[in-house]
């Protein structure tokens, strides 16, 4: 068994950076004038760099993309989320509402906290035969990249429901729509398309109605309903926001709930 101290040091450092970034953001949120602080997003970028460094370092050691157990998946997911938040901040700049980044930072911290808990063993282990496929790598990485955009959609939908100003509501509604608009095709490609091709290649069955597959499909259907609800004027706004929140709740259950509450093919993550 290979040692995994470096993973733990790097993830602890990333955790502190995320915590610092969240604290700076919170301090600015509590001030009367609501404006973005000038530097907390660089802390997010640094945390993302450390987390992705864990993935690279472990990948080199196992000579395979290190996304094959719960710890590695969560580290990758938290890293991509921090990176997506940083990019949003850089691209959208001052137009972005500070609470969205703060909410995303809190979720990224939560993912990392679960990664460091005992439910996610940290050993550096090369993958078992079923996982030795680059279709699996595409399946996992693209699913998480899509899901990190769903995090942004989730936070802005929550804020939409909680806010009263019409102008702010409009910006939040748009942000929910655009983030899911980006996340949806990436998630579809990763979770459903590459997942099906991998399953066909590994077991000769592209779909077997295993609980995780069914839940991923349900998640996809909820986001599909979200995108179509926007075509019906009456369903915009509140209903859309509720669907975006439900979609994220399903995403989380598909990732965690299925593993611990239901049994099936995806026992490894």
């Amino acid at each position: 068994m290979m040692p995994h101290t470096l993973s733990q040091v790097l993830s602890a450092a990333a955790f502190l950076l995320l915590l610092a970034s969240g604290a700076v953001q919170a301090a600015f949120l509590l001030r009367r004038e609501r404006r973005l602080d000038p530097f907390s997003h660089y802390l997010l970028a640094a945390a993302a760099a450390l987390l992705l460094a864990i993935t690279v370092e472990r990948s080199i050691r196992i000579r395979f993309a290190a996304v094959t157990n719960t710890f590695e998946s969560l580290v990758f997911f938290a890293g991509v989320t921090a990176l997506v938040l940083f990019l949003y901040r850089i691209i959208a700049g001052r137009r972005l509402l500070p609470f969205v980044i703060f909410g995303g930072t809190v979720i990224s911290l939560a993912l990392l906290a679960i990664a460091s808990s005992p439910i996610a063993p940290k050993e550096v282990l090369p993958p078992i035969p079923a996982l030795q496929s680059y279709w699996l790598v595409l399946h996992v990485t693209l699913s998480f990249i899509g899901e990190s955009f769903f995090i942004v959609g989730f936070v802005s939908a929550l804020m939409y429901l909680g806010s009263r100003e019409a102008e702010k509501k409009e910006r939040l509604d748009r942000l929910t729509y655009t983030s899911i608009g980006i996340g949806y095709p990436v998630f579809t490609a990763g979770a459903l398309i590459f997942g099906a091709i991998w399953a066909q290649n590994a077991w000769g069955n592209y779909w077997s109605w295993d609980p995780k597959e069914t839940w991923a499909l349900i998640t996809w259907l909820v986001y599909t309903a979200f995108l179509h609800a926007r075509l019906v004027r009456r369903l915009r706004g509140r209903v859309s926001a509720i669907l975006a929140i439900a979609g994220f709740a399903f995403t989380v259950f598909t990732f965690f709930g299925v593993n611990y509450l239901l049994s099936g093919l995806h026992s490894y993550g």
Binding site: I193, N201, W203, G204
Partner: protein, 310 residues
């Protein structure tokens, strides 16, 4: 007819059906699938168990409860796809092909899935070194070698079955290593590394001196009882004695000990590889459908970006 058309082209119907299918599928994941009705009676209260079985929740994805909404959705999607194309042609609106590609892709996907449901064939078989297996379309597969590799900590690293393939007496493939995630392609079949097993053999000698072989899982009758060969454990043959429906004895026997009227002469084991041959006429349409959906999603995204909606 017009009312029916309007009903099926509605986006509200689509959203409703999507949510209904999602909700029912969700419920099904909490109910163990494909068990006998008795299983549900044992596990749930009688009225609930009867409801599960009556609605077909015990094999949900083959039940009318799932298939009827799916067929309605298929029609809904088809009408929407046609309506979008015709409507645009009438109004001469700016073309938006992305959603059309997605919708057509999904229609092809459903068609492919139905082809898989009705046309899929599969067979799992176990081979030891040198064993042949006849497959459809005149293929004969022979196992040349089988290897199980482990990591230093004992976890499985790979199962490799090296095979040779002949078709009507001619060699098609002289040697191909089938591994997990690396199936053998014999169009239109594919052969997968699916599992592994062990075959234990006991050679027995009868009172006349004739030799006979028995494999694990086989049995013979002796004096109103059945002697069942369970396999070899720590170098000893394990035989079970069954009378009626009860097991009355278990024997751990070494070579040259008697069992029934026989004497055990020799014990041996060999590793077997479990291969699965699959023919699925739905897979190519499904992949084509997925490519259409992916292209449609990409196009929709680019067009929305062009419109500044994203």
């Amino acid at each position: 007819m017009n009312a029916l058309y309007r009903f099926f082209k509605s986006v509200k119907l689509a959203v409703t059906l999507i949510l209904v299918i999602a909700l029912l599928s969700l419920l099904s994941t909490f109910i163990p699938q494909s068990q006998e009705p008795a299983f549900y009676l044992h596990r749930y209260s009688a009225p609930l168990a009867r409801l599960i079985v009556a609605l077909g929740f015990h094999h949900f994805f083959k039940s009318l409860l799932f298939l009827v909404p799916c067929v309605l959705f298929f029609v809904n999607l088809g009408v929407c796809a046609i309506d979008r194309l015709v409507g645009r042609w009438r109004r001469k609106a700016r073309p938006r092909y992305g959603p059309d590609l997605i919708h057509i892709g999904l229609l092809v996907l459903v068609a492919g899935a139905l082809l898989s449901t009705w046309g899929r064939w599969e067979k799992t078989f176990y081979l030891g070194k040198g064993d042949p297996e006849r497959l459809p379309l005149g293929y004969t597969l022979k196992l040349l070698d089988y290897r199980y590799e482990q990591y230093p900590d004992g976890r499985p690293k790979d199962w490799v079955s090296t095979v040779q393939v002949e078709r009507q007496g001619k060699a098609v493939i002289s040697s191909y290593p089938i591994e997990v995630n690396r199936p053998l392609r014999l169009p239109p079949l594919k052969v997968y590394q699916a599992s592994f097993s062990r075959q234990d053999t006991a050679v027995l000698r009868d009172p006349q001196g004739e030799l006979a072989e028995i494999h694990d899982g086989q049995y013979f009758e002796w004096r109103e009882a059945i002697l069942f060969f369970a396999g070899i454990e720590s170098g000893k043959a394990v035989f079970e004695r069954w009378e009626g429906r009860s097991r009355t004895a278990v024997y751990d026997l070494s070579p040259f000990q008697p069992i029934g009227e026989y004497i055990i002469v020799q014990l041996s084991s060999r590793e077997l590889t479990g291969l699965k041959a699959v023919q699925d006429p739905g897979f190519i349409p499904v992949v084509a459908a997925l490519v259409l959906v992916a292209a449609g999603l990409a196009l929709t995204f680019l067009q929305k970006r062009g419109d500044q909606q994203i």
